[in-house]
Symmetry: C2
Subunit: 454 residues, 2 copies
């Protein structure tokens, strides 16, 4: 009889694992079953703001692989099936068929928990009103679309994190008036240092966003069940559409109830091979904690890249292969209109909090040779360890062609390079692509020079 | 009395050295004199094709710092002064004032040779005809401009290397008909592997270039001293403007005559501190040989980045500071229209020639999430050492936002990473910027997988 791999959650992590295990193990050796609470599999959640904004033409474009396609490839996906309990001692789980309303017990030899994360929604009065949404699923996007189609004109976005600013751009593009309410004093204030956020706020306001910073939401007013306003500590804002984007929490309840170890960050604890604290139980994706390679801390970072990679590692290991997930740097990128925003490693505050004696410097540089048409300024902040010059983190805010330069810093961080070493590298140069001293080299050279002179 | 630094050549390397030495040493301690044969200083030679193409509005925009500006900063630049001999034993040199026609002897305590490189021009009959140009200086660009203004319509570009394709794009943009004659079977055939050149040839032809590959030039026909045609091994091509772009040779004659050691690649031999074989004599820029960090070979690579960096190192060392130039990777980038072309490290042939047992693989990947508007394909070739998986080189040809990804590979090469390690890095992801698996990760992961399976 074939060994039986059961996967809970059929999105990025779960289905990457399934696909990888299927590649490595024949169906006679390994049966693969995946239970998915929702109706969809393997879709690009990161694309949802762009779907709402009309940049992506249809929801179908976001689906990388449908349940039927998975089944055709030897993975038995069962959508609208919710796992309600895991019995680790018996190696079984209880699954509810949401269509039929029936429950049954399924056995597993290997179990992969890929339950993802849920959006944070504080217990605000009125948050169950019609017109108050999160944007985590294709169904959420469809509901927002319906609200716009029904005539919504005044949108309020709660939270100016990644999702918040991406949704704000999207709703503006759809012609709605958009107010963004953020508790912190800056947009992206949780991911960028304060001295890097000015251009983001400027770009949002220039595009027409009514950006309200340092303002806390208190609840929602509704009429006939439909949201009409957002109540804040600084007045009431009329709204017929609200999107709450306050980050996520790992869906670890099922694992916790099964006795699996949960970490301080609220995610499932796994080792580099994605094994949980119980034998034959793996976990991957937004529901697990990852090791930050610089701070050493365990963090929950909900990002498709990690989910795919962790899923692939889990699938490889479950199928008997060798693989490992070697931690994260906290690399991220987004945009607001033409403005590109990226970060990797630790910010200045984060470095201090992690116990580093950190030095930070900001460099303004041009994306192209100064004389080349289209050259645009970017602002690069580097954080380095004061004594050694080791790079600890980088942040970039700038025009087109600035953001992806973060990958060079991420590669440098991965290799524990010093700013001095980074400044000496042989990077590409031609006038349409960079000044003679690429902004990366310029920023690193400046940091190295300042550290040397101190 | 102040120590006296004399610099021969007042362009990128020479003036970077001057500026750096001036920063580190007071005028009372160090006098800095630079002799320049031409009329200009510190201009961006890499921008010349874009000046010819009209992308850059005026020659003045390419001048980073004029002679007057250098003088105002304490560097005594004397343009139109040609150094004709170096007497190392006497620590003097002979310099000719090209305006006055007079010669005199100047003493130096420290000498920096930054004589640059000259374009290769075979001894073809007719190459001195009016209308036959190279594109190495602002004067060359002005002469080409004058030729166009005088009614030139049919341009022939000899050589399809970097300069050749950049000039071809520029002349097309100016409305000329353009034929490119290349001795090799592919454009950029000396810098890209053959299996990476197809898209370049396609893009050139699609833009209207009459691209003639595998064709050797034999000479030029002139009428009344004006070029009228290019004679080749495959017929005669009418032309009233010819630009020869066949690469460069280090200007090392002056150094050779002074008894300074010249390497096999024809450049001045220097150590990491830019010292030549003679005491108190430094050299930097296009006239020197650099160590290739992968092959170990000594190479002459004429590129503004190296010239600036080497000049800065020389200036630091001459002023008594510590600095080093730690070799090159052969990183380069260019474009033809929208097509971006980049490379770093060794190509497949080069790796074999350097003695590596090399494995190569080509990956096609999308610049953005496949569902995101504007996603474009790129083609990435990776070359890795077969036994270890160590990356040896990368080549990228693709649409917008593909080329600069070469810098991630350059950083990986600098750190001697394996393709396996590269594939595991935490690079940035958002739908407008990359698929979930960035092309860099995808290419490295594929190479790692293929090497593992062998």
């Amino acid at each position: 009889m074939a060994r039986r791999l059961v996967i809970i959650g059929a999105d990025a992590a779960g289905m990457s694992a399934a696909a990888q295990a299927r590649r490595l193990a024949k169906p006679e050796a390994l049966e693969i079953v995946a239970f998915e609470r929702g109706a969809h599999t393997s879709y690009a959640a990161c694309g949802l703001p762009y779907l709402v904004g009309g940049f992506v033409e249809s929801a179908q474009r976001l689906v990388a692989r449908s349940p039927e396609e998975h089944r055709a490839r030897g993975v038995d996906v069962r959508t609208r099936h919710e796992v309600t309990a895991i019995d680790a001692a018996a190696s079984t789980l209880t699954v509810r068929d949401l269509e039929a309303g029936s429950e049954r017990v399924e056995r597993w030899d290997a179990l992969l928990i890929a339950t993802g994360a849920s959006g944070v929604m504080p217990p605000w009065p009125g948050s169950d009103a019609r017109g108050v949404f999160q944007l985590r699923t294709l169904d959420d996007a469809a509901a927002i679309e319906a609200q716009i189609a029904a005539g919504a004109r005044r949108a309020v976005v709660v939270g100016a994190g990644y999702i918040g600013i991406e949704v704000a751009e999207g709703l503006l593009a759809r012609g709605l008036s958009v107010t963004v309410v953020e508790r912190l004093e800056a947009p992206l204030g949780a991911v960028l240092d304060a001295d890097m956020t000015g251009a983001v706020a400027d770009a949002m306001r220039a595009a027409g966003v009514d950006l309200r910073l340092g303002v806390s939401v208190q609840g929602f007013d509704a009429e006939g069940g439909q949201v009409r306003a957002v109540r804040t500590g600084a007045g009431t804002i009329a709204a017929d559409l609200v999107v709450v984007g306050l980050g996520v929490r790992a869906n670890a309840g099922l694992a916790r109830a099964a006795g699996i170890r949960i970490g301080d960050a609220g995610g499932i604890v796994v080792d580099e091979r994605m094994r949980t604290s119980l034998p034959n139980v793996w976990a991957a994706g937004d529901c697990v904690e990852s090791r930050h390679r610089l701070s050493g801390a365990s963090v929950v970072i909900a990002l498709g890249t990690h989910a795919n990679r962790q899923g692939r590692v889990a699938g490889t290991v479950i199928a008997g292969g060798e693989a490992g997930f070697h931690g994260v740097l906290g690399t991220a990128i987004t945009r607001f209109g033409e403005l590109e925003i990226a970060r990797t490693g630790l910010g200045e505050r984060e470095a201090a909090a992690a116990g580093f004696d950190a030095y930070a410097t900001i460099t303004e540089a041009s994306s192209r040779a100064h004389y080349f048409p289209g050259a645009q300024l970017m602002r690069i902040k580097l954080v380095a360890e004061r004594a050694s010059g080791r790079l600890l983190g980088a942040q970039i805010v700038g025009g087109p062609q600035s953001g992806k330069r973060i990958d060079v810093f991420a590669t440098a961080l991965w290799n524990r390079m010093t700013v001095q070493d980074i400044g000496e590298m042989d990077l590409s140069y031609a006038p349409p692509f960079s000044p003679v001293w690429d902004p990366v080299l310029l920023a690193a050279g400046r940091a190295a020079g300042e550290l040397q002179r101190r």
